[in-house]
Symmetry: C2
Subunit: 242 residues, 2 copies
């Protein structure tokens, strides 16, 4: 009997990849507009490589971009990048199509909801608060706060324990086959791979760990209901009512 539905955050509930791409492009455009003497493709390419090397939560992307391009440190260019990045980020911060409706339907059906996500705790909460998604969730579990990342079993066990359910009473929904689906399945949860965003065609070697696959978030409602229907039918058989 499924009691809790856990979601990954980025590219599952929040359209993060698109937001990040648009914000980075606009940052580079604005740096050039304010005098950065480099063409767009060169600067944008270097920025992507830098983010790949230092991680997306590194705080000094635009500073390091100047160093990488052998340019002098100039706070004007950095500020131009920061301003455009932030403005674009806020403009493109959207929930994934159907996410809010799904969460509402799941709540109405009596399920408790949780988030299990990697990333910077304050930044992840910022997304939830800006989108006013936070009230839907009974538990939010963020790896940089807990000290353990997906797909390590420990983060799933912490989340399950905190919500007071057994693995088989929980579903994990996420876009990454490795961290979300393989991780959750290994601890005994049911898994729904949300085939969406830049990971839609990656990590396919872990596809066997997905109990369900869908490209539409709304389908999660039917999947969860279906699982509980199966359970009811099975328990009807096992313990016949008299």
């Amino acid at each position: 009997m499924i009691k809790v539905v856990f979601f990954d955050l980025d590219d599952t509930l929040v359209d993060t990849s698109r937001l990040a791409e648009m914000a980075r492009r606009n940052a580079v455009e604005n740096m050039i507009r304010h005098g950065l003497p480099v063409d767009f493709d060169t600067a944008y390419g270097e920025l992507l490589e830098l983010i790949n090397e230092y991680g997306s939560n590194f705080g000094r992307h635009f500073d390091y971009l100047l160093r990488r391009l052998d340019l002098p440190s100039d706070p004007r260019w950095v500020a131009a990048g920061v301003v455009a990045y932030h403005n674009t980020k806020f403009a493109y911060l959207k929930s994934v199509r159907g996410a809010r409706r799904l969460l509402l339907e799941l709540k109405k059906s009596g399920y408790r909801l949780g988030i299990i996500t990697d990333g910077n705790p304050v930044k992840q909460w910022e997304k939830l608060i800006r989108l006013e998604l936070d009230d839907y969730f009974d538990g939010v579990f963020i790896s940089d706060y807990l000290g353990v990342k997906k797909p390590h079993a420990k983060i799933f066990h912490k989340a399950l324990r905190s919500m007071g359910v057994k693995p088989e009473e929980a579903v994990m929904v996420g876009d990454r086959l490795y961290s979300d689906i393989y991780g959750a399945k290994e601890v005994g949860m049911k898994t729904v791979w949300f085939r969406y965003g830049k990971y839609a065609d990656r990590e396919l070697e872990y596809l066997d760990y997905a109990d369900f696959t869908t490209g539409k978030l709304e389908d999660v409602l039917d999947i969860v209901r279906g699982l509980n229907l199966e359970d009811e039918e099975r328990s009807d058989k096992e313990v016949p009512s008299d």
Copy 2:
């Protein structure tokens, strides 16, 4: 003959104090709205003390506020503060009344313009870029970039040298009698104290260093023109034309 007019940034060209106050108040309100178990006056009072002790550019105000209030670290509360702080900051970021018109008139009259300000270089440039004030200025001199703060003579000398003028060819306009007016006067510049914002009644012991005082930014145009008129009259007397 005045050739360059230098301005301080915060509370001279940009209405920073009001912005900061509104942003901090809204941050605390939003933290409470998201569950911070403290009343507004207590939390806001502690935040102001903390900012006073750690400085306004310290990056972890909301984290430290929780510690100070003996509360557990909670990224949700920190994020609530950050979101409200940023939204309010952007909403209240305005140039001081009359600033843009003054800058335009000074440019039209042939003066070159500069900024001499303390603070974080990227944050100061962010204000200029967000307000689209940056194109008015021929030189921007920020202490945390140059390694010397107002009122040290060195920052004024660096600005003057970079703009290629002697001290007597420059005016400094600012809201702080100590850092702006005393500092600039000591190196030989003309000074206009802009009596505005939270420093309007402070540091009055340096009042003697102000050549002019005004509460209206627009007056700077007449002051500068007046100074050049005096110069012309004086040189007319000294070197009679034949």
